[in-house]
């Protein structure tokens, strides 16, 4: 049986969690999820994913700080920042990510980025 690639989805919004999980499981990926930075870092260490989709604006540790710590543990692992806000592009901390995608009802851009790094 072919090993499924694993995505770690980090987002504090339930709706996004449900939508993304459904979409990416339908596409044949395994999806782990975390609702905050601390939980995400624990999963990242204990059960390393193949790719991370990371929200920025979350309570507690924000996504750019989570990104910095994940890249410190594994600089090669692809991380896609997914935010509702354009203005975080002004934060050069985002550069550590492979992609920065503004959330949209149309998931084509996000799906294309995931395929680019996992397929």
């Amino acid at each position: 049986m072919e090993d499924k690639k694993k995505i770690l989805l980090v987002d504090d919004e339930d709706g996004i969690q449900l939508l993304y999980r459904e979409e990416f499981e339908d596409e044949g990926y395994l999806v782990d999820s975390a609702i905050n930075g601390e939980e995400a870092l624990k999963i990242f260490k204990d059960n390393p994913p193949d790719l991370v989709i990371l929200d920025i604006n979350m309570p507690g540790m924000n996504g750019i700080e989570v990104l910095r710590q994940m890249k410190e543990m594994n600089a090669e692992l692809p991380i896609i920042l997914s935010s509702a806000y354009q203005e975080y592009k002004e934060d050069f901390g985002t550069w550590a990510s492979e992609e920065y995608i503004v959330k949209s009802a149309n998931m084509d851009e996000l799906k294309a980025a995931v395929h680019k790094y996992l397929d």
């Binding site: 592009k89 934060d91 050069f92 901390g93 985002t94 550590a96």
Partner: protein
């Protein structure tokens, strides 16, 4: 009693609120602990940045975007303005619009993550000023651009989002409003007196010697007469030049010397103070201007801009520049 002062170039009023008079030690500056972790600007992580557009210090024969550099300039990985395409100006009734064409570059001022711009040694700091000159020259060859804005945010409160020392250049298809106002104000003075207002300011400040922070044979640092914030400083060349990009290496060296001294004096007064500095230079498509004088403005982030400032355009400054100048000059470096 508070005092209203008018900036002679911009016509901008500020309020010196003397009853709120302060000493440097009254300003509390938070210096957040280093976050550590992965830094995309550090040597070894060059692959996380876009392809470099300028590098100093890497030995010839070494691969592009490899380590071993002293300064790198790279485009913004996630830019707000994009380099490809045409400007395509359009009118929509009374409104104007154009495509978001521009270049946004980051100057990585040192390979060392812990370095702070204020305390860079001369040989390292001069590379930043050389990079500004060389990048503006290069970007000026693109006739879509009208101006290159050069600025630095130092410290989180001043907008710096990365600890690693860096500054920024943004090439714009339009002239920033602030520059237009400065050009108009200085031209108006020139038409009236047939002299550059900046040259006159330098002459008067040297003569009065109450707002002159430091000087060398090529530059002066002034506390401006109507500063927006306490400890605001302007660094100006003594000789009249409207464009930054015509400086030779001797001028860049003198600029580095006075910039370093001014920033170290500022830091000695208020350790770790966040600040912004901005280069003011002539538009890219302009001939040399008799009425405009390139300079840097250093603005410490010590006061906040609230409703009054937004509503009136007046800044409230609790320290007169004559006082801040005295504090800055008393520092023994």
């Amino acid at each position: 009693m508070p005092e209203l002062r008018k900036d002679p170039i911009l016509g901008r009023w500020i309020i010196i609120a003397r009853e709120r008079s302060k000493r440097p030690t009254d300003f509390v500056v938070e210096t957040p602990a280093s976050k550590g972790g992965f830094c995309p600007l550090c040597p070894g992580n060059e692959k996380t940045t876009p392809d470099e557009v300028l590098v100093y210090g890497r030995q010839s024969g070494m691969e592009r975007n490899s380590s071993g550099w002293k300064l790198r300039v790279v485009p913004n990985k996630y830019p707000a303005l994009v380099i490809e395409g045409e400007i395509d100006k359009q009118g929509e009734g009374l409104y104007d619009r154009m495509n978001g064409i521009g270049a946004h570059e980051v100057v990585i001022e040192s390979p060392n993550h812990e370095d702070r711009f204020t305390f860079l040694p001369h040989d390292q700091m001069i590379l930043t000023f050389r990079a500004f000159r060389d990048r503006i020259r290069d970007l000026s060859r693109d006739d879509r651009f009208s101006y290159v804005m050069v600025f630095k945010n130092y410290g989180k409160a001043a907008g710096a989002s990365l600890e690693h020392s860096h500054s920024q250049l943004v090439a714009l298809p339009i002239l920033p409003r602030m520059l237009v106002t400065e050009l108009e104000g200085s031209l108006s003075y020139y038409k009236y007196k047939d002299r550059c207002i900046f040259c006159d300011i330098i002459r008067q400040e040297i003569q009065q010697d109450i707002r002159l922070v430091c000087e060398n044979d090529k530059f002066v640092t002034l506390a401006p007469f109507a500063p927006r914030t306490p400890f605001e400083m302007w660094i100006m060349p003594r000789r009249h030049h409207s464009s930054y990009i015509n400086q030779d290496d001797a001028s860049l060296s003198a600029l580095t010397e006075i910039f370093s001294e001014s920033l170290r004096r500022l830091d000695a007064c208020i350790p770790g103070v966040p600040y912004n500095f901005v280069l003011h230079t002539q538009p890219l498509r302009s001939q040399p201007l008799d009425h405009f004088h390139w300079h840097f403005e250093i603005v410490p982030k010590l006061t906040s801009i609230a409703g009054f400032e937004w509503g009136t355009g007046f800044y409230i400054n609790p320290m007169p520049p004559e006082d801040t100048c005295r504090y800055l000059r008393e520092i023994e470096l």
